[in-house]
Amino acid sequence: MDDALQLARTQFGLNIAFHIMFPTITIGLAWFLVYFRIKLMRSGDAAWGATYQMWTKVFALTFAMGVVSGITMSFQFGTNWPGYMKTVGNIAGPLLAYEVLTAFFLEATFLGVMLFGMKRVSARLHLTSTILVAAGTSLSAFWILALNSWMQTPTGHIMQDGVLIAGDWLEVIFNPSFPYRFTHMMLACGLTAAFVVSGLSAWRLLRAPKDTGALGTLRIGVLVAAVLAPLQIVVGDLHGLNTLKHQPAKIAAIEAIWKTEKGAPLVLFAIPNEKEQRNDYAIEIPKLASLILTHDIEGEIKGLEAFAPDTPAVKPLFFAFRIMVGIGTAMLLLAWAAVWCSRNKALPPRWLLWGLAGFTFSGWIATLSGWIVTEMGRQPWLVTGILRTADAVGPISEAAMGASLTAYAATYAAMLAAYMVVITHMAGKGAQAAKPLAEGMQAPGKIA
């Protein structure tokens, strides 16, 4: 592949992968905060105040990481992919603009009130601000996933003088893969946040087993995870079937099916050999892929050969998909075990606490793997069937790209390390160490 294209893809991949980690947490965590805030209002218990306060600080830090890495994204479209804006800008632009207008301002403004306004506004208004922040983060996911899904399965557009314009905006937004991808991502956000909450609470409990507040948040976290994990498996399966219908080459790459066959086996493990177009060291279950994907044991599945030469790289999709499924399964088992072991407010055994603490950021790995599958699986297209990635890349020199890539990579590595150390440290000290609330703010309805 062309070096400049490779550099541009690497840099964009790095930026967007780094960025998405933080919204994935905040979109879910925001709704946890709403719950904590309501608990505080209802009970007037200072312990809920401390819990709310600590988790808003985790939220603020995560949100800041998301904001600053997100600003980078708004510049990248033009600098690195001018062909994208030129061809599909009339579709992508408005969707991005709606995200800024309806979501970004809402969340950023009310975040200020939520974080620093506890003593300045009424409890009701403060709860409203918390809800608006949560709504803003989810709304932002709505718009960006509408755009991403449109790039995967474009509908509702018209080609006019070499550029695309929208024919029907509802068809553009509610394109065939959007409902599945949006639900799948929202559940991923919920799961990621649930594991951050239970993982950090577990970390605190390992150091202070008597911290009832931490036990409370752990139980909420694992309960949410235990409910969302099986839902995610169902939605993920539906999403897969939707992909089979609209992007069959992606599925063929995920399953490493090279040749069209009836009664295709499910490849559990293999090392896909792109050169020879076969799988080395394969462990397979006969007929299972056909059964899962077509619900017919002798169903025909199109192999990669049917789509050549426009096929995605097999290895990254094959492995990323298996990592995602593997982590998802482990999350399910861990969450169910933790719900069982913490019933009746019992403290789970230490091995389980260590397991949860170790899984604090597991949602990141699963989510990023999922995005690798869906984005690399769209290649060589940037917009399926309309625009090739290679045709959208900009004229930035390799030296400039190299410099920017190095600068971003170094900054991101430092920021990520600092982030993980600081929130783990904060959680280790516990919620009570967070600044206590002012009196008067814990009772419902009082105006400061």
């Binding site: 830090l61 800041a64 904001v67 001018p82 207008l101 970004f104 009310f110 975040l111 009130v113």
Partner: protein, 332 residues
Amino acid sequence: MPLDLPLIFAVLMGVAMLAYVVLDGYDLGVGMLMPAASEEQQGYMVSSIGPFWDANETWLVLGIGLLLVAFPVAHGIVLGALYLPVVAMLIGLMLRGVAFEFRVKADGWHRELWNGMFWGGSFLASASQGFMLGRYITGFETGFGYVLFALLVAGGLCGGYVLLGATWLIMRTEGDLQKKSCAWARWGLGWVALGVALVSAATPLASDTMRHKWFDFPGTLPLLVLPLASIAAGIWVWRETGRIGNAASTARRDWAPFAGAVIIFVLAFAGLAYSLFPYVVMDRLTIWDAAAHPSSLKVVLAGAALVLPFIVIYTAFSYRVFRGKARAGLYD
């Protein structure tokens, strides 16, 4: 009469950029002033901008977003030409944004480190923005003189942000810090004056288009309003800071220097808009050449017309909630 959509979007984009420069300008300015303050004062400075900085930066995303939506071709040309300064600005904004959150949670040398990042990031972002502005208004011409010009603009804009930041602090703080801020404001004002003077002198040399626009009689005469009003606003800021700095004075208007600084920015922006119009890329691409398809402009305009009033209302609400003098701790 059909709507002149490219013109409407040029105005919207201009307003978003102006809002960004004024709003993020004051918090970047406060960031740049951090090393000049004591540790206790730094707490007040940070808490004076805490509730606002996130939303302030969103105006940049809106401005760039509108450029992307309305003038996609220009977005590619402008940001492609400014590639490295854009990267520098983004890294600056990233460092200061996270340093802002991290420094509250850190102690000892860690806090010093994050303070340094906050200051350095603010400075890097401001200087890069000024540099980009300098490159942009000369149409990205190459050559030593043009780079020097961009560096001058960078210095001027940093001074401008310091002026905004210091006058913001005058409005939002009391006592010693307020007094110090008066001195900072005057210092910033000096840089602005120097920057504006140099830019005004260099502009006719840098661009033929601008020379004709500004120096062809008799069109020049009404244009004199802009520099004269700027000078008046500058004098006003100077005098008001003098009154506030003088403890004996009773006629104190803490808001006046900030208002004056905003007026200076609005005037400078008006001058800039006059210089550039109707180009979105100087001398190369007009707003009508670069505009996106009317169908997409219409759908964004409808959204903006519907949502922008709400944004203005809840932004005003947020400023009302956090009115008055800053308190010691961010979370107090």
